[in-house]
Amino acid sequence: MSEQGALKETTYREAVKEALREALTKDERVFLMGEDVGHYGGCYAVSKGLLAEFGSERIRDTPLSESGFVGAGIGAALGGMRPIVEVMTVNFSLLALDQIMNNAATIQHMSGGLFNVPLVIRMATGAGKQLAAQHAHSLEGMYAHIPGLRVLCPATLEDARGMLWTSLQDPDPVLIFENNTLYNMEGTLPNNAGAVEIDSARVLRPGRDITIISYSASLYKCLDAADELAQKGIEAEVIDLRTLRPLDDATYLTSIAKTHRALIVDEGWRSGSISAEISARIMEQAFYELDAPVERICSAEVPIPYAPHMEIAALPRVAAIIAAAKRMVSHG
């Protein structure tokens, strides 16, 4: 960490844009490609203004051809460029999953190390805006199942600003998931904010009684819950996983060695979620540390409905986190 510069007010959206601007400025091989990143300004206004700044070759609008332009991004990476491919949202990335799993994640191993794919793919993820079943998936956990990929989930302004550059230095494909509800999040960043490491999880809030493990937007529900729990005298330690693949086990295991209780909060569907993987790893590596079984709070296993009350009911809630934490701490 270089010395911190003066703080400036900003938003998650601006932080991502700053990261893009920095990358495009520093490295000529970097370009941004995706649907509506140019003339429209980005579906979430993240790339607004960059077309004028960097031109249509480097801020490249694509047709609706997710598989085609993700595959083209892989090829461009093989050809010496450093593409940032934006898939508008994770919901549409299923159309490109064959390219991501069978090419991007596989070529290096399958070629015996001859070729690597320095590609960054950004996508918006998550529910919360009443966009209904086909626009509310949280599939970052599913992507974390695939060997050969790195999966990042920037939850803070610092990570939104800093993870992109580090990802671009990585010789392998990196997926960055930006939760759509975070773009308007406000906060401050040092003027000289820049690259951050992407290998470890971070303790967002220290505590002694229970470890709450989460990532992305759900973290803020965990922090709210932790505040309320504190008033009840329960000190929850909140951990931001930051990177879903490869997982940093050490950080949460260290915490559990202290708290002896773990609760995982995950916006993905419960069965086969990344939270299941973490629970299984705790079982395998910290079984004898546990004073209570690890619990999970995930989204209901339903396509996310449009109606506001139904959508809220389908997602992890602060009240549920508090209730679970209390139960776990009181018992055992």
């Binding site: 429209y40 339903v302 139904m310």
Partner: protein
């Protein structure tokens, strides 16, 4: 122009376009009032396409639409009330409040949804047509999609399947020149969309999508072809979206002049003028139309307002069918 003679039909077409127009103007209002949330994609300016095409379909035919489907749903005969209630998220809505604006469904009119994955609905129409063919039902499956969808692999695969298997699919491309904020010239190497049908051995026609009668004529030609078992038909309707892509769009990608130019070809004005010139539409007629449309929409809003919320306990219903094992 054969239809002009049939005043009743023409007036009905005009009323349907007006209903869609006013219904969506009201929806935009209600969106600002936060009664409607999520994505709202307005069809304003494109009404002639849905109204013209639906006039050529029979009740037993099937329809697959996109997330910009209020027009198709209304023109297909779904009630404004069930659609408005859906957008309110009320359980009296056509999809129980689970789908919202992008996912309108209706069994009675065989309306297989509002699909919000661009291109994702096209293969469904192929399958619906395949079922009809295998069950010896002489019916049409009609799918609507935009100019942007033409770049998707699903478009290509579905076009080939429908033609290869000679299925009665009516492909309706609503070419409004933009895919969200990306102009057709930035998405297609060949911008003459209808011409692409030939690569699939499919007859195709491009029609003025602002002229409801031209659209209806072309659609009737198409459905006749389909009913003769000659395989699919491709119809490109050249139209324009007067409003932003969705309620979040700041329209950086097109200029006001272009929009104004197209507004001069407003499909509702075009038809009403034609009717007036033919002496088939008086000021009173028009006022009456506006009146009845206004009443229908008011009733729809009342219905939606009076609607109830689906109980949260029902959240997990319909993930799997309740009558397990048909």
């Amino acid at each position: 122009m054969s239809n002009i003679i049939d005043r009743e039909h023409a007036i009905n077409q005009l009323r349907q376009m007006l209903l869609i127009r006013r219904f969506e103007e009201k929806s935009a209002e209600l969106y600002s009032a936060t009664k409607i949330r999520g994505f709202l994609h307005l069809y304003i300016g494109e009404e002639a396409v849905a109204v013209g095409v639906m006039a050529a379909l029979a009740p037993e035919d099937a329809v697959v639409a996109t997330y910009r489907e209020h027009g198709q749903a209304l023109a297909r005969g779904m009630s404004a009330s069930s659609i408005m209630a859906e957008m309110y998220g009320k359980q009296e809505g056509c999809s129980r409040g689970r789908g919202g604006s992008m996912h309108l469904f209706d069994a009675a009119t065989r309306f297989y949804g509002g699909n919000a994955i661009v291109g994702g609905g096209i293969p469904l129409a192929v399958g619906l047509a395949l079922a009809d063919k295998m069950l010896d039902r002489n019916r049409v499956s009609c799918c609507f999609f935009g100019d942007g969808a033409v770049a998707e692999g699903d478009f290509h695969e579905a076009m080939n399947l429908a033609s290869l298997w000679k299925l009665p699919v009516l492909f309706i491309c609503e070419n409004n020149l933009y895919a969200m904020g990306t102009a057709l010239r930035y998405t297609q190497a060949v911008t003459d969309i209808a011409s692409k049908a030939y690569g699939y051995g499919m007859p195709a026609k491009a029609v003025d999508g602002m002229d409801v009668m031209a659209v209806e004529d072309a659609a009737r030609t198409a459905t006749e072809h389909l009913h003769q078992g000659k395989g699919p038909y491709f119809l490109e309707c050249r139209t324009y979206r007067f409003r932003p892509h969705s309620m979040f769009d700041t329209e950086l990608y097109r200029n006001k002049e272009e929009v104004e130019q197209w507004k001069k070809r407003d499909p509702i004005d075009l038809l009403s003028q034609r009717l007036r010139e033919a002496g088939l539409l008086s000021d009173q007629d028009w006022a009456a139309l506006e009146q009845s449309v206004a009443e229908e929409i008011e009733a729809a809003v009342d219905f939606a307002e009076a609607g109830t919320w689906e109980p949260i306990e029902d959240l997990t219903r319909f993930v799997y069918s309740e009558r397990r094992r048909a």
